[in-house]
């Protein structure tokens, strides 16, 4: 199949089509491929496979000593951003966009360390806002911005005020939905009245129909903005001209989106019990998708809820570190325990700084030595991280059709002596000398 596609490719007019041959490609999604050839066109991976024959005329960069991995993704960072605001706020509508400084050196340094995509979370605790996704290259905000919002950041602790903040947010959504339902009822009654009138004068029926159709189209356009729009509503509204639901409050809308499944949440926790309290708050919100994030430190007891998290196959963001069991000197590899339990592990640097990103891969390597599977570790810094950012379809693995964000290493990326040889971002080499 690949061959046929290649043949086709050959037939296509050249332009931006070329290939890289490496010693090994860690595809993440489909395991490692030895002597892999990666074919790239227009910023995307066109094909990848072992010893693929290449049509004549396609330039091939031969690097038989390199190892290729997808670009690394840190989905939960504030490198290059001010941070340290600890006040508890309820600003779910905010985003750290305005804080971006594209000239910050940190971006370039991250890129040279093989980090191609970052998810930047809003500062503060409580519900401080929505995260955004950036590529680590660009001169302006627009050039850097990949996608927003990535996820709604929620900090949840085991106390009433924290839990109530979330409960109230959802009760506001209930209120809004009630309001919408009432308005619709009102509107429907009006429509019925109109109908009965129009029926009495049956002459213009055909005209009416046409008008209806037109209005429906208009309505559909409006619907694009309205996340609440369900199919039922559409059916109901087919009767006549558009029902326009009232605009939700900007602080209510993110939770409306959560409920509708168009936005995901990342919940920051600080101990195992917080997770149970999170489930308690979300007891009746089955549709809300969320990932959890927690800092690893000694005395953390997160292993207690590992089976529960694993059962749900949740995305879990944490650091590559082993910790001590409370009141003991027993070492526990919580990331490995979570991965074994079935959770989708995402690892971010232990220290959220440029230096932390330098140590990131060796820390992950150490964790592999302490019991984490290599596959889970690789996915934890690429594919699963992309999933946290809602970009799992586009980034995170070396597969056909995915964006060509590739890091070329001098060897195994988890070995301390390995260097980054080159970084490709969206099909272009942005770091490293490639001739």
């Amino acid at each position: 199949m690949i061959l046929t596609s290649l043949m086709l490719l050959g037939a296509l007019p050249g332009g931006d089509l070329w290939a890289v041959r490496v010693k090994r490609a860690e595809t993440v999604a489909k395991g490692p491929i030895e002597h892999a050839l990666i074919l790239v066109e227009d910023g995307r991976i066109l094909a990848i496979g072992e010893d693929l024959p290449v049509e004549r005329g396609i330039p091939v960069i031969e690097r038989e000593d390199w190892v290729a991995t997808p670009g690394w993704i840190n989905c939960h960072t504030r490198v290059g951003f001010p941070r340290g605001m600890s006040s508890r706020t309820f600003d779910p509508q905010l985003s750290p966009e305005i804080e971006i400084d594209p000239r910050n050196d940190a971006w370039k340094e991250l890129l040279e360390l093989g980090v191609t995509t970052v998810g930047v979370y809003p500062d503060g605790t409580g519900i401080p806002g929505q995260a955004i996704v950036l590529r680590t290259r660009g001169d302006t905000l627009e050039e850097m911005l990949v996608h927003k919002p990535a996820y709604l950041s929620i900090h949840l602790q085991a106390n009433s005020s924290s839990k109530n903040m979330l409960r109230e947010a959802f009760s506001k959504v209930d209120e809004y939905e009630e309001k919408v339902a009432k308005e619709r009822e009102k509107w429907e009654k009006e429509q019925e009245k109109k109908k009965s009138k129009s029926k009495s004068s049956k002459k213009d029926e055909d005209k009416d129909k046409k008008e209806e159709e037109k209005k429906e189209e208009e309505k559909k356009e409006e619907k694009k903005e309205d996340t609440l729009a369900t199919q039922d509503e559409k059916k109901e509204e087919k009767a006549s001209d558009a029902f326009v639901p009232p605009e939700p409050d900007e602080k209510v809308k993110p939770f409306l989106d959560l409920r509708a499944g168009t936005l995901e949440a990342m919940v920051s926790l600080s101990k195992a019990a917080d997770y149970l309290h999170l489930l308690d708050v979300l007891e009746h919100e089955e549709k809300v998708h969320f990932s959890v994030e927690f800092p690893l430190r000694n005395d953390i007891d997160f292993y207690e809820v590992a089976p529960k998290i694993g059962e749900k196959k949740l995305l879990v963001v944490t650091q590559p570190e082993t910790t001590l069991q409370p009141n003991s000197i027993r070492e526990r590899n919580i990331p490995a325990e979570l991965a074994r339990a079935g959770a989708k592990l995402v690892l971010v640097p232990r220290d959220d700084s440029v230096e932390g990103h330098e140590e990131w891969r060796t820390d992950v390597g150490r964790l592999i030595g302490q019991g984490l599977s290599r596959e889970a570790a690789l996915a934890a810094v690429t594919l699963e991280a992309a999933r946290v950012l809602d970009l799992g379809e586009r980034l995170g693995s070396l597969e056909e059709g995915k964006q060509a964000d590739i890091v070329f290493w001098s060897g195994d990326p988890f070995e301390p002596s390995t260097r980054v040889e080159a970084v490709m971002l969206e099909g272009r080499f942005v770091y490293g000398e490639v001739k």
């Binding site: 101990k271 309290h277 069991q325």
Partner: protein, 534 residues
Amino acid sequence: MARTLETPLKLLSALLALAATVARIAAQDETPPAEGQQEEGAGEEGKKDDDEEHAKYFAIVGGDVVPGIGGILRDVTILARNGKITEIGHDVFVPEGAETLDAHGLRVYPGLVALGASGRITTGNLAAEGPEEDGGVAEPEEEIRFDALLPVPILAHPKEETAEETPDLQAEEGGDEMKSEIEDTFDPFSSQLVLALATGITSVQQQSAAVKLKRYEIEGVLLGDRHISTLTWSVNNPSNIRSLREKFERASSYLRDVRAWKDRGNKDEKEPSKRGVDATALRVLQGESLAYFRNGAREDLLGIARFAQEYGFRPVIEGCDEGWTVADELGRAGAFAVLIPRRRDPKDERFTRPGGASIENAAKLHAAGVQVAVRPENTGIDTIGIAGRDVLHMPVEAGFAVRGGLSEAAALEAMTLVPARILGVDHRIGSLEVGKDLDAIVTDGDLLHYRTFVQYTVVDGKLVYDKEKELYFAHIRPRPKKPEEPAPAAAEEPKAEEEKAEEPPADEKKDEAKDEESGGDDEKKDEPPKDDEG
């Protein structure tokens, strides 16, 4: 009507039982909703609707059960269904699939109830620091200060300070909105919680709430709330006493008015106004909460006892150090005393009358009819050192009261049933009786003996602590070896790995136990719960 329906249903289910897959559905349909004992345990598994089929049974088999209401039942089985005790007896049928705990050669007691325990037990030491933190607010964590010049530690927070903080509490108790937030703060993984379970504590007081120490889950931890209304009384502050009297006077006259109004039954007449009536006093007089005092001096105790008799409520007095000098008066008032047996309180030398703390305090109060509860001096719990971590040794604390003459049965009640009554949750916990929650501890000897360790702790019919499996005390005097012939019910009991079995004193301990039982036999009441089950 129901009966006529039942028979065809039974027939139907019998027929369907042939096809195993269909039978399940049928069973679900015919489940009578009035089964009654739907508990958290069963509710958890949403898909398992069938109450009977999926009811969780737990049995403690073959232990010497001290039910906490007098007496001892030898070699009996306690069976619980969905966390509630259904049977206690010799020939209890243990259903197939029931989880069993072999207690042969061991003793079974009701779980202890710790009054005034540190908030860290329920919120954990990882609890975020902040104003929301529930734990440890009412009780300062480090109460004891060590002074180089004094031979014993002294209280860092003298009694006067409690008087200062009380107005707040009083206001809290009065308002209806002041509810315990424990359900939002409970940490079922707290290491202090595990330590409390290791001590044998299965429920704790947190401010005015009674909290069950559930492990691994946060549902159903709040047993009862707002059953305590803290009041202040001090002979040194007559104006405070006067205002308290006024409040109670107004509340009782209000209650009289309401009763009279009801008796008249005149529809046109307005209900007496509640305005200006103190909510706390009203709650106390209506029996919704207990008036809780922190007093130790004889004059105060006398004042409280007479005040309580005057208005007809039962006071709870924490401290009660000189209570032994006015025991009869306190007994007449039907008082509860929350004692700290080790407390040191010097006699006031200005008076010739008896005074000061006495080791006989608990015994004398109990003899006079006062319901005695025991709490430790300090509310902390930890494995670091002993002093200041008193909650870890509650039974030893009660042991001091026994040393002063209190009967062992009363000492057990002082840690179980009486505190449960004070917290208003004695219908759920505090003793091992049919219908109550199965919160039990299994020990390797008499609970009040200093050598005794809690081997297992069971909360709501679930094993939540096993000494051999936790880090804390597994290495100290490993579990005594079981008797040779295993009981048939305990055959599948999984604790076969008895590597550390070279421990000899099983016999020795039995002897001790026998001695203590004979001592406690005086207190033996009627043969308890076995008859109650019907």
